[in-house]
Symmetry: D2
Subunit: 295 residues, 4 copies
C-alpha cells in the first residue's frame, strides 16, 4: 500500500486512478477539471488544491497528461514540481510525449536528486478500465523493480524497455509500426477488392500466410470481416485517427532527431495527416481503409 | 492415383514432382535442363522429348515456370500446348506470374474448352521439399474440389481464393504486404537501435503489442534476435531479395491496371529495387534491414 | 508535299491532320468515328473504308491512338498494317504508349523491312491546334532527318531523343517529372498557406529562388496566383488528371521493367490515383493541389 | 551608415560582415572562434569580449548561427541578449532555424518592447562573398522598410515574406521543394539512362518541356551535362547534402506542427537521410543522383 499523487485525470487517468484505489493505495489527486475529482473523491481519493500540494509526503507521483508541453509545464520552471518533490519520492510519467522532452525532464530530475521514469501505456480506455494496460518503462533496472508491482495494479504487461527515455521510444516504435501495418493492410485488402477478391477470404488466406499481422487478425479495417471491431461499427470507438497521427508525429520527431530514415513511417504519417484534414480524424484509425477505396 | 504432366523442374518444381511421385502418381516430365529430369527418372518419372508429348493422355498438367512470358510461350501461339491438351485434362499453373497474363491464359483455355486454374504457391524451397506449401487457387468451386486432394500431396494449406486469376491476385496481395511488413519492421527496429534500445528487448515488447507481425515473430530481420533465421546467418538462404522485388513488381502491375493506390507497396518496391541495384539482391530479403542502418 | 495516311482523328489527331492539310499535304484518313472524317473531308482529305486501304501508295503513315493495345491491334496480327505497308513508306506512331509495346512494334517492323519510329507529342489540344507541339522522336539519325520537316508542319520543337523507343522513354521521363513537380509544388505552397503565408508572395519568392520550376511559373496550381491557367478557372480545361495518371502509369511500367528506383514518381502516381478515385480525374491535373488542403 | 553588432562569423557570417564594412558600416563583432574576428579587425571591425558588450549603442544586431538552440541560447534566458538590447535597436536574425523557435523569439522580443525579425538567406558561401544573397524577411511592413536598404548591402533579392516567422517559413518551403526537385530530377534522368537515353539529350529535351526546373537547368545532378556545377566536379563544393537534410528536417517539423501533408517532402527527406548515413553527407546534395544508379 503506497501513498500516491495522481495528476491528470482524463479519459485514461481516471480509470487508472480508480484501479489504484481499488488495489488499496491512498491517492492525492489533482486536475484542472472538477468532475473526475469529485467522482474519485467518492471512492476515497483526496482532492488537492494544486499540484504542489498533492506531492507532499507521497511515495509516488504519477502524471498522465496529453502532450509534452503540459508535462514540461507541470514539472519544470520556477513553480515546477521538481522543486517540491522529495528525493524519496519516485516520479512516474505515464503520458505519451516526445522523447526529447522526456530526456530533458529526466535530466533535470537527476540534477535535483529525484528519480523520474517514463512509463507510457498502450491499451486504450478499455485497457485502463479493465486494468490490462501495457506499460513500457524507461529507467534503471533498480527503479524498474521498485515500480513494477505498482504498475501491475493498473496493467497486465509491464515491460522494461531500457534507460530513461526508452519507454517513450519503445512506444513510438510500436505505434509507428502499427500505423504502417494498418495502412499497409488496408491497401493490400483494397487491392484485392479492386481485383474481385472477397476481403474475408483474402483476410483468411493472409492470416495463415506470411503477411499475418495484428491489424489483420484482431482489428481488421475492412467492415464485416471481424465482429466487434470499429470497422464493423462504422469506425466508432477504438483509437481515434487523430491520436494515431499524434503518435506518428512523435515517431517522426524521434526519426528526425536521430537522423533515422523511416520512409514507410513518413508516408503513413502523411496518409493519416491528409485523411484527418479531410475530416476523418475523430473516427477510429482503421478508417484509413477508405482512403484506398475506389468509390 | 493420377497421371500428370509436370513441366518446369527448377528449385521448386523438382521437389514438388518428387512429392507427387512419392504419393503414388504417374508423372510425365519435361524441362530444358537435363539434371532434374535424370534424378526424377530414377524414382519413376517418364522423361518426354517435348512439352507436347508430355501432355498426351494425362489427367492433369502442372506447370511451374519463372515468369509470365515463359507460361505464355508454353501454352499460347501456334505450337502452344492449349492446342494439344485434351478437354478432359485439368491444367494447373503453379507459376507466380502477373494477373493479366493469368487471365489471358484462362480466357484462351476456356475458348478451347479447357479448364485452367492458377495455383501459385508460397513456402519456398523448404516448403516444397517438406510438402508444406500453401496453394492459392483461382478457379470455380467445382474445379477447386477436383484439384484440392492432388494439391494436398504437395502442400499443407490449400486456399480457394476465388475465380480464375484470384490465386495470383491473393499471392500478390500477400507478398506485397509481406514486403511492407519486412521494410516497416526493419525501420522501426533501426529507429529503436539509433535511440539506444536493444533490438531483442524491443522485439519482445512489440511482439506482445499491437505491432506484432509475422516478420517480427518468426523472421526477424535484425541479426541475433531469433535463431535459425537468415538474419542470424549473414542473410544466407531464405527468400532472395530479388524474388521479393519480382513479387512486388507483379503487385505494382496489378495496382496500375486496377487503378489502385498502394503507396506503401510502391515505396517498399522502390526500397527493394534500390537495394538490389546496390548489389544486395542475392541475399535474403530481410537484409533490407541494413538499408536503414546508421553505419 | 507528301502523301500521308493519318489514322486516329481524336482530340489530338484531328487538329494535327488539319495542320498537315494546311501545309499542302495529301491525306488519306481513317477513324472509327465519323464526325472528324467528314470535317476533314470538307477541307480536302480522302476518307478510307479501312486502315488497310489508307496506307496504299503513301509516303508516310501517321497514327495517333489512345493506348498500346490500340496501336498493337492496328499494326500487328494477321490483319495488321505491317503486312500491307510498303517498304518505301515511313511509319510514324505519335501515340503515347508504353515503351515495351513501342519496342515490340519497332522490332516487328524491322523484321518486315519497314521503318517505324515513335514520335509522341506534348503540348495538348491547344498545341495541336496551334501547331506548336513538341515531338520526341525515337529513330536512327537518318530517319529523323527524313521526318523532321514533316513534323515541323505540326509542331515547334522536334527532338531526336535516340533510337527506337527513345521518344516514348523521353516523354515518360518528362511527364513523370512533371507529375512530381506539380505535386511537390502543391504541397510546398499548401505548407506555406497552412503557416500563414500568402501563396502569391510565396510563389514570387520561389520563382526567383532555387525551387523555380515550370509548374510554379506558368501553370501555378493555386487559384488566383496566375491568370489564364486552369487553377484560376476552377481547374477546367488543361490536361486532365486522368491523363497525367495514364502517363505516370507508363513511367511506372518502364521503371519496373528496367528495375529503376523512382520513389517520388511512385508516390506521385499514387497521389494522382487516389485523387482520381475520389472523383477528381476529369479536372486539370493541377487540382491535385487540393489534396493537400486543410479544409 | 549604421552601427551594427554582428554575432556569428562562420562561413556565411564573415563574408556578410565584410560586405557591411565595405559598404561603410561600423561593426561590433563577436564569435567564439578567434580567426575571423582577427581578419575582420584588420579591415576595421571592433572585437567585443562578449555578445552583451557588442550590442551596446548599436542600430542593428545581426546574428548568423547554425541552429535554433544557439539562437535561443544567445537571446533568451537570464543572461540572454534580449535583456540588454535597447528598444531603439532592430534585431535581425539571419540564421536558418525552425519556425517555432523563431516565433518564440519574436514573441519574447515583443514582450520586452524589442523589434526582432527573421531574415534567413539563400545563395550559399559564394553568394555571401559576392553580396548576391537572397533574404527572406519575416516582419511588419514598417520594419521591412527599415532594414531593406541595409540587407541590400549583403544581398540582391530582399523579399518580404510576411509577418514574424514568415521568412523562415518561406525558406523552409523553398528548400523543401528544392530537395524534391533535385531528387525527382535525379530519378527521372536515371530512369532515362537505364533505358538507353543520353542524359545530356534528355536534359535538353526536358529543359524545353514541362519538366523544366532550376536543378535541371543550372545545377544538373548528372556529371558532364553542365560545366561548372558540383556534379561535374566529383560533387565537391556547392551545398552539402547534410545541410539540405537539415533544411528538410526544418520543413518536416513545420509540416508536423501545422498538420500539413507533405508526402514528397517526407520521402525526399528520407532519401537524403539514408544517403547521409551511407557516408555521402559531406558532398554536394546533387550526389543524391547516385542513389538511383544501377551500378
Amino acid at each position: 500500500m503506497a501513498k500516491i499523487a495522481f495528476i491528470g485525470l482524463g479519459n485514461m487517468g481516471e480509470p487508472m486512478a480508480v484501479n489504484l484505489i481499488k488495489a488499496g493505495h491512498i491517492l492525492n489527486i489533482f486536475d484542472l477539471v472538477d468532475a473526475p475529482l469529485k467522482r474519485l473523491e467518492k471512492i476515497g481519493a483526496s482532492i488537492c488544491l494544486n499540484a504542489k500540494q498533492s506531492v507532499e509526503n507521497v511515495d509516488f507521483v504519477i502524471s498522465m497528461l496529453p502532450a509534452g508541453k503540459h508535462v514540461e509545464g507541470l514539472y519544470l520552471g520556477e513553480e515546477g514540481l521538481l522543486n517540491y518533490i522529495s528525493k524519496e519520492t519516485l516520479v512516474i510519467d505515464c503520458s505519451t510525449i516526445d522523447v526529447s522532452t522526456t530526456k530533458k525532464l529526466s535530466f533535470e530530475a537527476i540534477n535535483k536528486g529525484i528519480s523520474m521514469l517514463d512509463a507510457p501505456v498502450s491499451g486504450g480506455v478499455n485497457g485502463a478500465i479493465a486494468g490490462t494496460l501495457s506499460f513500457m518503462v524507461g529507467s534503471s533496472k533498480e527503479m524498474f523493480t521498485l515500480v513494477e508491482t505498482l504498475l501491475q495494479d493498473m496493467g497486465q504487461n509491464i515491460f522494461h524497455a531500457g534507460n530513461a527515455g526508452s519507454g517513450q521510444m519503445a512506444k513510438a516504435c510500436n505505434n509507428m509500426l502499427l500505423g504502417i501495418l494498418m495502412a499497409g493492410t488496408s491497401e493490400a485488402l483494397q487491392l484485392g477488392i479492386a481485383n474481385g477478391l472477397d476481403p474475408k477470404v483474402l483476410s483468411e488466406i493472409m492470416i495463415k500466410s506470411s503477411s499475418r499481422n495484428w491489424t489483420l487478425e484482431v482489428y481488421n479495417p475492412c467492415p464485416d470481416v471481424l465482429e466487434n471491431v470499429p470497422s464493423s461499427n462504422n469506425y466508432e470507438g477504438g483509437f481515434a485517427l487523430d491520436l494515431m497521427l499524434k503518435d506518428m508525429n512523435l515517431a517522426m520527431k524521434a526519426s528526425i532527431e536521430s537522423n533515422s530514415p523511416t520512409p514507410l513511417g513518413a508516408i503513413s504519417r502523411n496518409l493519416y495527416s491528409q485523411y484527418s484534414n479531410e475530416g476523418n480524424g475523430g473516427k477510429d484509425f482503421s478508417n484509413i481503409f477508405n482512403l484506398f477505396s475506389q468509390n
